[in-house]
Every structure is written in structure tokens, then in C-alpha cells.
Amino acid sequence: MSFEPKIVGFLCNWCSYAGADLAGTSRKKYAPNVRVVRVMCSGRVDPTFVVKAFQSGADGVLVCG
């Protein structure tokens, strides 16, 4: 079985989360490896969130904003 990474994405409500939402409404597909957590701004992302994600078994963390 090939390796499927688990990636936690912290997405800004106004741009990247809206973009992911738009991809959905435009019926575009993207890989399900990114699991999205919405924040009101990428500035909300505390370094402890990233540590917590790795601790909980994430292979990668994506902060978009």
C-alpha cells in the first residue's frame, strides 16, 4: 500500500478556506489528505497548534492565509 500522508491544514476564513469552499462549489476535486481546520486568520495559528497536530499523528501541517 502506498503512503498516504495525513496533513492538517489551518486555513484562513477569508482566502484559503474560501478557496477550498470554491473548489467544492466549482465541483473540482482535490486530494483528501488535507484535513481542514478553519481559523478566522492564519494569524490565529499558535505554534502549539502545529505541535499538537504532529503529536496527534499528522505527517504535515499546512498554514494558509
Binding site: K6, V8, W14, R35, V36, V37, V39, M40, C41, G43, R44, V45, D46, T48, F49, K52, A53, S56, G57, A58
Partner: protein
């Protein structure tokens, strides 16, 4: 404009510039600088004798270089108020300290060379930004010869030429004074072009049709060509106008023109401008010799758009225009509460659309006024007084300037009307004293765990 100026609830400030905006919805403080026009507005009667006596002639910006004006002038005949302004950069008195001809002849004694910029501050509840657009300058598109061939005009230049009060009194003439017999109108100059602007400017098709109609009216036997990619006659009555123009013997060639040249290959091309284009309907390259070329130039964001965006905390789309809150559901509001946008500063649009959007913006402002209350975001940040150490880290980080330092208690305080709930302060607070409502640390950590199950 005149009826707006005389309205008792409207204060019109011309020749003024917004220098600074602070505050928030319902409570804006706007600093406005009124530039010196060197004419006393209370005394001036608008008789225009100063204009007649002024010896300095300058290119008239309103006629886009086709006409002249004086160093003391009113920008255009219908200008409100009808009070002239002295152009400091060209006035002999300001340059050399002599002349004062206008002052000598002014019966009302309205000329005042000592005027200074006046700065006023007004309190307003809402702001509507309607700063408009710039017309695309086709000089960089060298293939079309604008600036190189005298008889290549932009749409705006032709508009001034065809205006009865314009520089040629409405006569359509070439640079040598003769009447053109063949005119080509080239669509999409700077729009629908990946090298310049990808978007469609929306108005050019219709004004190009209008130009054809004007030319047909003024020069009945002229040959008129339009080189277009697609005709976009989208509005009420527009398609009918397009049909009417086809009946008025305007030649429509489907294909964007590639070049305007003066190199004649055949005898009938000598001394003419040759428009090279592909006619995609017959599948053939064509060379069309004409006397006059009109470039239907694009609408583009104003050159000072980034400064204005910063001033009013507006976002912009990739093409440079101001970003509305939602393209369909909230097209006049912006992400800054209390600041609305209308007209071409939001995107290219024609007059009916601009009027509709401006009316919507005015209605939105009135609804805030009549309610008397402002609804604020549910997601804001709050400071726990007991935990805040007063380190001030959050104050500099807040992008909305919503956090102030309370000197009495030595802690940070968040203004909920300004806070947009981004939570940057909550992430940065070393004491963990700031809670971002609905996005608390516990909630986000629980979500992280949840998505990884």
C-alpha cells in the same frame, strides 16, 4: 451635480482630498485637505473674465490634449462649482512672481494668491468610495501606432472630438483638418488581453457602436469598420442598437486587429493607415486602408488605487479593483464595516449599472442611519483582565487597530466594534489572556484531534 450641491443635507467638497481615516462604523473621523484654488469662493461670481485675460495657454486635460486651457480655468463647462482654479505649475505669478492679470481684471476682487491648504476633520457614520477608473494608455501596444501615427486616437479622445463643446466643436477631423472617409474602430485595446488586462471592460463594445453612429450621422458617406472579438451587447436595448448599426452600413469584422501600419503595398493604400486583421468569419487575412483609427481602450484601476485602498482599509481583487464583500450577495459593502463602494472602482461597468450600484450603496448607508444601531461580529476577541500582564504585544499586532492600552488598569482593551475576530492577538498573547470567541484554543485543539482520527 448642481442639485447635489444645493441640497441642504449634502456638503460637497470639491478640489479636496481625504488625508486620513480613523475610527469605525458609525464613528469615523475623516481628515480632509481642501487645496488652495487661489480664488475666494464666496466672492467669485463665475463671470470668467480672469480666464479670458490670462495669457498662459496649457494643454487641456479634460480634452485629453486636443484642446487648450488657461492657467486659471474651470475644468469643463458644466463644472460645479463654477469657480475657476489657478494652476500653480503654469501660472506666471507663481513661477516668476509677476503678472497678476486675473487679479487686476477681477471685479469681485476674488483672486487670493495667499490662500493656503485648509485641513478639516469631519465625523461621519459611513463612507462610500466612488473613485472611478483610469482609461488605459495604449502607448505600450506599439503595434497599433498610438502616439506614432497622428490619426490614431483613443476612445476618450474621439469622445471629446465628437462633443459639440469640445476642441473641434463636434467636427470629426484628421490632424490636417480634413474629414476622414474611412474609419476603423479597434475593440478590446488592453482588455481581454493576457499581456495587459484579462477582464472585459464591458463598456467598449457599446461606446464603439455609439462612435459608429456618430460618425454615420456626421459623415454620411464614410466607410466605418469595427474589428471585434465578440460583440457584447448585454444591456437593455443594446442588442437592438447593434442591429440598428448593422442597418446603418457599419462593417463588422470579427477578429481582433493585429497591427496598424503605414507601409503601403498597393496604390490605394498610399498615405493611409492600414489595419491588418484576420476576418475569422471568412477565414482570411485582410488589409484595410483607413484615414482614422480609434482604439477602444480598456477601463483600468486608477493609478492611485493602492493608496486609496490603504486609506480606507479596502482589499483589492487580482485585477486591482476594490473587492466587494460578496460578488453576488453583497456587491456594495466591503470587508471594512461602514465603508461601501460603487461604480468603476469596484470593476468595469456602464452608467446604468453604476447608478444602480450607487443607489444600493446609498440605501445601505440609509439603513444604518435609520436603524441607529450597528450589528457587530459575533466572533471577537476578549481580554481576561486577571491574566493580562499589560505587555502590549497584542496592540502592535492587531491589523484593525482595535486594541488600546488602558492606562488606569494597565491592561489591554479590545474595541468590539473594530475587532474582526482574526485571533492574531489570542495566538500571540504570552499570558494566554486573550480568548478568541468561537475559536478558542481548546476548540481548535479538539478539532485538530478530530480531523486526525
Amino acid at each position: 451635480m448642481a442639485s447635489v450641491r444645493s441640497h441642504e443635507n449634502i456638503e460637497m467638497m470639491t478640489y479636496s482630498e481625504v488625508l486620513g481615516v480613523s475610527g469605525y462604523v458609525g464613528n469615523f473621523k475623516v481628515k480632509i485637505g481642501k487645496k488652495p484654488r487661489y480664488v475666494n469662493e464666496d466672492k467669485c461670481t463665475g463671470c470668467g473674465v480672469c480666464r479670458d485675460k490670462c495669457p498662459i495657454k496649457v494643454n487641456n486635460e479634460f480634452d485629453v490634449g486636443l484642446g487648450i486651457r488657461k492657467a486659471i480655468y474651470t475644468p469643463f463647462p458644466q463644472a460645479v462649482p463654477n469657480i475657476p482654479v489657478i494652476d500653480k505649475e503654469h501660472c506666471t505669478y507663481f513661477l516668476k512672481g509677476k503678472c497678476r492679470a486675473c487679479e487686476k481684471f477681477c471685479e469681485a476682487k476674488a483672486i487670493d494668491f495667499e490662500q493656503k491648504e485648509r485641513i478639516t476633520e469631519v465625523d461621519v457614520g459611513s463612507i462610500i468610495v466612488t473613485t472611478g477608473f483610469d482609461s488605459f494608455d495604449p502607448t505600450p501596444m506599439t503595434a497599433y501606432g498610438y502616439g506614432r501615427y497622428p490619426n490614431v486616437y483613443t476612445g476618450l479622445e474621439f469622445e471629446r472630438m465628437s462633443n459639440a463643446s469640445g476642441p473641434t466643436n463636434g467636427k470629426i477631423v484628421l490632424k490636417d483638418g480634413s474629414t476622414p472617409k474611412n474609419v476603423a474602430i479597434l475593440h478590446c485595446m488592453g482588455s481581454r488581453d493576457k499581456n495587459y488586462h484579462e477582464y472585459c471592460s464591458r463598456v467598449c463594445c457599446m461606446y464603439s457602436l455609439k462612435f459608429s453612429h456618430i460618425i454615420r450621422e456626421k459623415i454620411p458617406d464614410a466607410y466605418i469598420y469595427q474589428m471585434y472579438i465578440d460583440m457584447r451587447c448585454f444591456g437593455k436595448g443594446y442588442e437592438e442598437f447593434y442591429n440598428r448599426l448593422q442597418e446603418e452600413r457599419v462593417r463588422f469584422i470579427r477578429g481582433r486587429a493585429g497591427e496598424v501600419s503605414d507601409i503601403a503595398e498597393k496604390p490605394d493604400e498610399v498615405g493611409k493607415l492600414i489595419v491588418l486583421c484576420e476576418d475569422t468569419l471568412i477565414g482570411r487575412q485582410r488589409r484595410i486602408p483607413v484615414d482614422m483609427v480609434i482604439l477602444s481602450t480598456a477601463i483600468e484601476p486608477r493609478s492611485d488605487v493602492s493608496a486609496v485602498a490603504k486609506l480606507f482599509s479596502l482589499s483589492r481583487t487580482a485585477d486591482g479593483f476594490f473587492l466587494e464583500k460578496h460578488p453576488k450577495l453583497d456587491p456594495v459593502a466591503t470587508n471594512t464595516d461602514g465603508v461601501f463602494i460603487a461604480g468603476c472602482c469596484q470593476g468595469p461597468k456602464d452608467i446604468p449599472d453604476t447608478v444602480a450600484q450607487a443607489s444600493a450603496a446609498a440605501a445601505r448607508v440609509l439603513s444604518v442611519i435609520s436603524k441607529g444601531k450597528v450589528e457587530i461580529e459575533a466572533t471577537t476577541s476578549i481580554v481576561d483582565d486577571k491574566l493580562c500582564s499589560g505587555c502590549k504585544t497584542c496592540i502592535d499586532l492587531c491589523p484593525y487597530k482595535a486594541i488600546t492600552f488602558e492606562e488606569a488598569k494597565k491592561i489591554a482593551a479590545i474595541n468590539e466594534a473594530l475587532c474582526k475576530g482574526c485571533g492574531t492577538c489570542a495566538a500571540a498573547c504570552p499570558a494566554g489572556a486573550i480568548v478568541s470567541k468561537h475559536f478558542t484554543t481548546e476548540q481548535i485543539l479538539a478539532q485538530v484531534e478530530g480531523v486526525l482520527i
